[in-house]
């Protein structure tokens, strides 16, 4: 896919914050000494009076965001996914989630595609952690288009939202006329033999795998699920009923993320044979992002191999 345009979703995030800042005087942005990396620095350059660097204190940042929201502001709080969702988990749970405050959390550098920094920075648990908080909307956009639309949808939504962004450039999958809605998934490719449900950068991998499967005569349906919570149960049940086999693909632990959410949905509403592709209950490691995605079988080839094995089993 080397000819395809690639953009990191954190770039989309920074750009959209600047755009929203012009329209929303009550929008403020917080960061924890990573503004250059999370791309909130783009907002800081244009709106320095509405940008607050909290320094290396993520828990404090999340509670400050809660206070800002309680006083009528719309705060975006950003850090790496590891520290946003992990370090500050209890602040998000108690200061933001419990009072259902209108805080948006923009978490970048999620998953193993962080690359060289290694396991301490490769958050594979954030979607599971955030999904457990009542009232929290959890999104993992697939590309630049979806990331920009997800950020805009987040400010239209009254309540806490967690959005996951990546460090590495990823292929642009969606056209500009894509109609994004929180809680709604989309079918990117129709198929009848197996459903591949993916999010984040794994959507591009799933599409690539579907092309490879087609050459073997396997007709895969590819479903994009940006919003893990609330999950588009209807679409999941619909695709599962159609193909009878569901594979989830995500740059996250196979426990508690997209795979967990889809399994919960299907086991209650439409028991279906499933396989979860993701990081299989291990920590990550250092290396270039592309090589790691290959090693953990989350690139097109890895997804193809695993779907094939699942179908042939």
């Amino acid at each position: 896919m080397s000819d395809v345009k690639k953009i990191a979703t954190r770039e989309s995030y920074g750009k959209t914050l600047v755009e929203l800042g012009a329209k929303m005087p009550n929008l403020v942005v917080l960061d924890a000494d990573l503004a250059g990396s999370t791309k909130t620095g783009e907002f800081q350059k244009v709106y320095p009076d509405r940008f607050f660097d909290c320094g290396i204190a993520e828990g404090n940042m999340m509670s400050i965001a809660a206070g800002l929201a309680a006083a009528g502001m719309v705060p975006f709080a950003s850090s790496f996914a590891m520290f946003a969702s992990g370090r500050a988990y209890e602040q998000i749970r108690n200061s933001i989630g419990y009072p259902h405050l209108n805080v948006k959390i923009g978490a970048s550098h999620a998953g193993i595609s962080v690359g060289e920094d290694g396991a301490s920075h490769q958050c594979l648990e954030d979607l599971a952690l955030m999904r457990m908080i009542p009232g929290m909307v959890v999104m993992c956009p697939a590309d630049d288009t979806e990331a920009r639309k997800a950020v805009k949808a987040a400010v239209e939504h009254d309540g806490p939202v967690y959005i996951r962004f990546g460090r590495s450039p990823v292929p642009v999958v969606f056209d500009e006329d894509y109609e994004f809605q929180i809680g709604k998934g989309s079918i990117l490719r129709e198929g009848k033999d197996v459903s591949i449900v993916a999010n984040g950068l794994c959507v591009a991998s799933a599409l690539e795998a579907a092309d490879m499967l087609a050459k073997d005569g396997i007709d895969a349906e590819v479903v994009n699920i940006c919003t893990i919570k609330p999950l588009d149960d209807d679409l999941i049940v619909q695709t599962a009923s159609k193909t009878g086999r569901v594979v989830t693909v995500e740059e996250h632990s196979i426990i508690g993320g997209l795979g967990g959410a889809v399994a919960e949905c299907l086991s209650e509403k439409c028991p279906t044979k499933m396989y979860r592709i993701g990081v299989r209950d291990v920590f990550g490691e250092s290396g270039p992002a592309g090589e790691l995605l290959h090693r953990y079988m989350l690139d097109g080839e890895g997804v193809y191999d695993q779907v094939k094995a699942f179908i042939e089993d």
Partner: protein
């Protein structure tokens, strides 16, 4: 010379203490010790210091109060009842199923609660966020937050203080209820945060030490001074007595989080009745 308004405040604080004991007794659970120690602080804030109106609890220009030591909400509910946010009778629903008076304050259930708290160390950060909002919105409201002296062992308190000092949040007033007792014993026995004043000074706060946090004249002077401070937040460190005015609860860590039985309830109310009559 004791003027009339001080006498009225003392009477209100005495009633707040009765409200605390009543709420905790009917709940058969709760935290009387640190509620009683802050009765004068709650009373001064709600009856004199803060610009708040029970008829308009969402006024964007109102002063804000965040009870960072959320477990001492019997004291907060006690003064809110006196201010007119709800009827005293409702105090008897504290901690019962379906109540608006949750075991720790919920801003979604009870109008007048500015922040849901209970997890120690987080309330001060939320108050800092409100103070930032005041600056961005160019509104004149002030933000008050009450912390326990054990609570300041939480690292987040110092993250919040570092930020408040660095950003010169002079619309923020932090109050520490220094009753010197936490669940496992005295502060020194557990993990001493002393000297508290020097710590806040080091974090670029204007610090006011109140020798007797039950003396309304000292509280009035401290809060008046805090209003004059520009370019930095203020911390008011109030020395208090945990369990104040209930004979068997005073200076007893055992009454941090325990409800009195019927006999103890009667003794406590008689203690408070006697003190109230003498005013």
């Amino acid at each position: 010379m004791q003027n009339n308004y001080i006498r009225e405040l003392k009477k209100t604080a005495n009633q707040v203490r009765k409200n605390i004991i009543t709420a905790v007794y009917y709940a058969k659970a709760g935290h009387p010790g640190g509620s009683l120690s802050a009765a004068e602080i709650f009373t001064y804030l709600y009856m004199k210091e803060m610009n708040v109106d029970p008829a308009n609890p969402d006024d964007p220009d109102r002063d804000r109060f965040v009870l960072s030591k959320g477990h001492t909400c019997p004291g907060l509910y006690g003064v809110m009842a006196e201010k007119g946010y709800f009827d005293r009778e409702e105090l008897k629903t504290f901690r019962h199923v379906g109540t608006r008076l949750q075991g720790h304050p919920s801003m979604r259930l009870l109008p007048g609660i500015d922040m849901s708290t209970g997890s120690l160390g987080q309330g001060i950060s939320c108050a800092v966020g409100m103070a930032v909002a005041g600056k961005v919105q160019k509104r004149d409201f002030r933000v008050y937050t009450l912390l326990g002296d054990g609570e300041i062992e939480e690292g987040q308190v110092w993250e919040a203080s570092m930020f408040a000092g660095a950003k010169k949040l002079d619309n923020l007033c932090v109050i520490v209820d220094n009753n010197n007792l936490q669940i496992d014993g005295t502060l020194e026995e557990v993990n001493s945060p002393y000297p508290i004043d020097k710590k806040f000074e080091a974090f670029n706060f204007h610090v006011i030490n109140v020798e007797d946090g039950h003396d309304f004249e000292q509280l009035a002077a401290a809060f008046a001074e805090a209003r004059t401070i520009k370019g930095m937040p203020t911390a008011i460190i109030c020395k208090t007595v945990k369990g104040k005015d209930v004979s068997f609860m005073e200076n007893n860590a055992g009454w941090h989080g325990k409800a009195p039985n019927e006999e103890q309830y009667k003794i406590a109310m008689a203690d408070l009745e006697r003190i109230g009559e003498a005013l």
